[in-house]
């Protein structure tokens, strides 16, 4: 341990960085977590390398003892978000066709209002984010911000903007654009930033620096303005809300939209000659919409398309067995939440009944049947086990225990429950519903599965709308129980805030607990991993007690491409980064 070197480095860091460095130095966290957390708070790679070197090899041994699973932040044994980079001598040129999810016809290509993976993918080809995607699937400083750092307590973050990013007419990206974008998101009610920043939070006096002041300290803020908050892509200052990409194509990114056909959801791109990152290797790009994932898999099998944005294990076995097909598994905390309406309906009477359903679930069966093992069982809270602040001791893993379920129901004085389980027709969710139904029947919980079309489901069953009178019911009238999808986020903030905090926009449970809100605030403002862990552990316990929702599993997000394609990056939110892709 080179204390002298370490000390000199230590003196240049602010209090938050210091806490992290000291935690690493004292072996309270392992190296991988140090790097991940360090990236989030803006430590540069050289700085972290220097710290690691200064601390010597003893900490490597400690790292192995850390409880983090082999994966970074996903259920797969080896997260592979990036395909092999192009070999030195690649043929340049060519047209790449990506099979894309058919977007929601009603929202259009609106960067602020978009909600579906298909639109995320299209928008991210031309618009860019402050914080970008690294090769390992975590955030990185390779996008519009070259670096960032927090103030003393993490309540203010300064982002250094790159000086060579330009808009279509050649005028440069400035902090005024960042300020306008943030204000637009606040006005719209972006779920990632709700409660984190307010209007006018960005100080754009220096055009090359965006200084963002938060409502309260938040150690994870950079993730919230990264590619993992899809709507946070930076748009031009004079861009008005509701404008769609095909109406006004203004982006700093590698591609320009050449044409968009809404009836086939087909977008064609040509290279942006003014892109700061140089030029794309490909000549052109097409994102082709597929209404049905099975058809997209067929297209990929027969090589009508080169890249497939997303496919599932069920039905995708052909691709998984195809030696000429490369699978991408970006880190993914994708999961399904089984919510209970805790204020009205068949599960509102007692938390013991809700817990009972949790004890009925055969998670192993779900993982093996629905994902052929490509998933990680969940423990009825939204914290992925590989996160550094996950508290493995707080809540022991639940297994299927019908006797436990029955005794809980008896304790609640309930013989049987009859309820309708609603879900959308998305992926494996209807199958999940059927398995849950079968699992629960033995304990006297009789569920009738109602699979609805997506447009009906989200608006009528999952979250009909806020109660006019009662602020604790943001989704008044939601179904008594059902399953909904949550896309990947590298940090669980959104899963906790929007989905579970009082008045959260996605809070279909209508869960309103001051204790929970307090713990959430503790977690967000926590200055270091240890205090994050304390808060999260308490949250885990509270979830198991109040049980507003169940979390049966976290599953891998699968994407892939033909072996002749290289340089593709995928996120579990449907982004396919193609700026440096090439096709042999």
């Amino acid at each position: 341990m080179d204390w002298k070197r370490f000390d000199s480095l230590r003196s240049t860091a602010g209090p938050i960085e210091l806490d992290l460095v000291e935690a690493y130095a004292q072996n309270r966290i392992g190296r991988r977590d140090f790097v991940k957390r360090g990236t989030i708070i803006g430590l540069s790679a050289p700085f972290m390398g220097a710290i690691i070197a200064a601390c010597g090899s003893s900490s490597d041994g400690e790292a192995a003892a850390e409880p983090t699973a082999a994966a970074d932040s996903g259920g797969s044994t080896d997260a592979e978000p990036t395909s092999a980079p192009a070999a030195a001598e690649t043929t340049s040129g060519g047209n790449l066709i990506v099979g894309n999810q058919f977007g929601d016809a009603n929202s259009g290509l609106d960067p602020v209002a978009m909600l579906d993976l298909g639109t995320y993918n299209i928008i991210s080809q031309t618009f860019e984010y402050l914080v970008g995607l690294g090769a390992d699937g975590n955030i990185s400083d390779n996008a519009l911000a070259t670096g960032w750092s927090p103030n003393g307590d993490g309540s203010q973050w300064t982002f250094d903007l790159r000086d060579d990013a330009v808009w279509r007419d050649g005028s440069p990206l400035t902090s005024a654009d960042v300020a306008a974008t943030m204000d637009r998101m606040v006005e719209f009610g972006n779920s990632g930033l709700a409660g984190v920043i307010e209007a006018g939070s960005v100080d754009s006096s220096d055009p090359s620096k965006a200084v963002i002041s938060l409502v309260e300290p938040n150690g994870n803020f950079p993730v919230l303005v990264s590619i993992f908050n899809p709507q946070s892509c930076i748009t031009r200052a004079d861009y008005s809300s509701g404008t769609t990409l095909n109406e006004r194509d203004e982006g700093t990114g590698a591609w320009m939209l050449e044409s968009f056909d809404p009836s086939t959801f087909d977008a064609k791109f040509v290279p942006n000659p003014n892109w700061w990152g140089g030029s794309t290797i490909l000549d052109s790009l097409e994102l082709r919409g597929f209404a049905d994932i099975g058809t997209a898999v067929t297209a990929m099998s027969s090589r009508s398309i080169d890249v497939i944005q997303n496919f599932s294990v069920i039905g995708g076995e052909g691709l998984l067995d195809d030696a000429a097909f490369s699978v991408l598994t970006p880190p993914s905390s994708n999961h399904r939440q089984v919510w209970f309406n805790v204020q009205e309906g068949d599960f509102a009477t007692s938390n013991l009944v809700r817990q009972a359903l949790g004890w009925c679930l055969d998670r192993e069966q779900m993982v093996s049947t629905l994902f052929s093992g490509r998933a990680e069982i969940g423990n009825d809270h939204p914290i992925l086990s590989s996160l550094p602040f996950f508290d493995a001791d707080a809540t022991p893993q639940r297994t299927r225990d019908i006797d436990m379920a029955k005794s809980l129901m008896a304790e609640a004085g309930v013989d049987e429950v009859n309820a309708t389980f609603t879900c959308g027709d998305l992926g494996e969710v209807p199958d999940l519903a059927n398995i849950i139904r079968a699992n629960a029947a033995e304990a006297g919980i009789n569920l009738t599965v109602d699979v609805q079309s997506n447009s009906t489901f989200y608006g009528n069953s999952w979250c009909p709308g806020p109660s006019e009178t009662d602020p604790t019911q943001p989704c008044a009238g939601s179904g008594s129980v059902g399953a909904v999808d949550y896309g990947h986020r590298p940090i669980p903030d959104i899963f906790l805030s929007s989905a579970l905090s009082t008045g959260g926009v996605w809070n279909s449970s209508n869960y309103a607990s001051d204790t929970f809100d307090g713990l959430l605030s503790d977690y967000r403002t926590a200055p270091d991993v240890a205090s994050q862990k304390t808060a999260i552990g308490a949250i885990q316990k509270l979830m198991h007690e109040d049980q507003p929702a169940l979390y049966p599993y976290f599953f891998n997000f699968l994407a892939g491409h033909d072996e002749n394609v290289s340089g593709i990056q995928a996120t579990a939110l449907g982004h396919i980064v193609t700026s440096k892709a090439s096709k042999a």
């Binding site: 016809a105 009603n106 009836s263 086939t264 297209a299 009508s304 052909g318 709308g465």
Partner: protein, 319 residues
């Protein structure tokens, strides 16, 4: 003849008006809050109200209907509700053309093969050939179109790779390439229709073979192929023509299963998406298009029958 056509067209207009009325009633009177569904579950109340106003959904119903009639008459259906800024006609035109291409290719396959099969079955009535054709036709027609579509897609498109599995031809595709891309769905349609058309043709041909004029022709010494050409075909094919005419509506607007499986942008899928959005202008325009095609094709079928059968011309009021 002309009077007949004019009369038919006039009657068709009444029917079209009725269709418009029905579609309008269904969409406006029953489902609630179309603006809410269009804006999505997360839009604010103000946005929904604004949308309602913009789209004219809060005007009194007669006003809305009047607007619809005016749109139809001027052939300007305005902008799509769900794709802001996109004209409805721009959405319908490609879908209509795609459906037309598929229908043309399907008819080129179905009609010759089925008619030939039907006539052969009629000639060799009650032989093994006849029974096989009828049985095969019955069987293939009883499998839903999306099922035969999926099977063909898997076997020929994926496993054997002889044809593209998904019907997305590149923009610059020539005629032959274009045909390649829609050959699989056309084959699925062939499966569905072969049995039907063959049996109808067979029934008509049997009637024609057993008719007096045919026997007379044979006795006069005409060769059988000449008999078929001059007498049998003309009379046997009348039901076939009639039936083909009535199926055009289904072929244009009802093939949604196949369109999903082959990722083909046709009218069937357009109607489905427009109905679920709900996108009223697009839905109205699409349904009307299909209805017009249906009526034109039944009219054409009747005219062809009249040309084939002089006696039927009397029914049409020909003097």
């Amino acid at each position: 003849m002309l009077r007949y056509i004019a009369r038919r067209l006039a009657l068709s207009l009444i029917t079209l008006f009725l269709i418009l009325l029905i579609v309008f009633s269904l969409t406006r009177v029953f489902p609630s809050e179309p603006a809410r569904q269009l804006a999505g579950p997360f839009a604010s109340e103000e946005r929904v109200e604004q949308l309602t106003e913009n789209l004219g959904l809060d005007d009194p119903l007669p006003t809305q209907f009047g607007r619809l009639v005016r749109d139809v008459v001027t052939l300007d259906f305005g902008e799509s509700f769900s794709q802001p800024g996109v004209r409805v006609l721009d959405l319908i035109r490609p879908a209509l053309w795609n459906s037309a291409k598929l229908v043309i290719l399907s008819l080129l396959l179905v009609l010759p093969i089925s008619i030939f099969g039907g006539i052969m079955a009629a000639r060799k009535k009650d032989t093994l050939l006849d029974r096989s054709i009828v049985s095969f036709g019955l069987a293939s027609a009883s499998i839903p179109d999306f099922v035969s579509g999926v099977l063909l897609q898997f076997l020929i498109g994926v496993k054997l790779g002889w044809l593209p599995a998904v019907s997305n031809a590149p923009d610059d595709a020539g005629l032959l390439t274009g045909i390649k891309f829609i050959l699989l769905p056309a084959l699925a349609i062939l499966f569905v229709y072969f049995g039907y058309i063959a049996r109808i043709t067979r029934a008509g041909a049997i009637g024609a073979f057993e008719a007096d004029y045919t026997r007379t022709a044979y006795m006069k010494g005409m060769s059988s192929s000449k008999v078929i050409r001059k007498h049998v075909l003309r009379n046997a094919l009348q039901p076939t023509v009639a039936v083909t005419g009535t199926q055009m509506g289904y072929l244009f607007g009802g093939l949604i299963g196949l369109e999903v499986v082959f990722n083909y942008n046709g009218l069937g899928g357009l109607i489905f998406r427009a109905a679920t959005a709900p996108d009223f202008p697009l839905l109205q325009a699409a349904v009307l298009s299909v209805a017009i095609i249906f009526m034109l094709s039944t009219l054409a079928a009747d005219l062809i029958i009249a040309w084939m059968n002089p006696r039927a011309r009397l029914d049409l009021g020909d003097d």
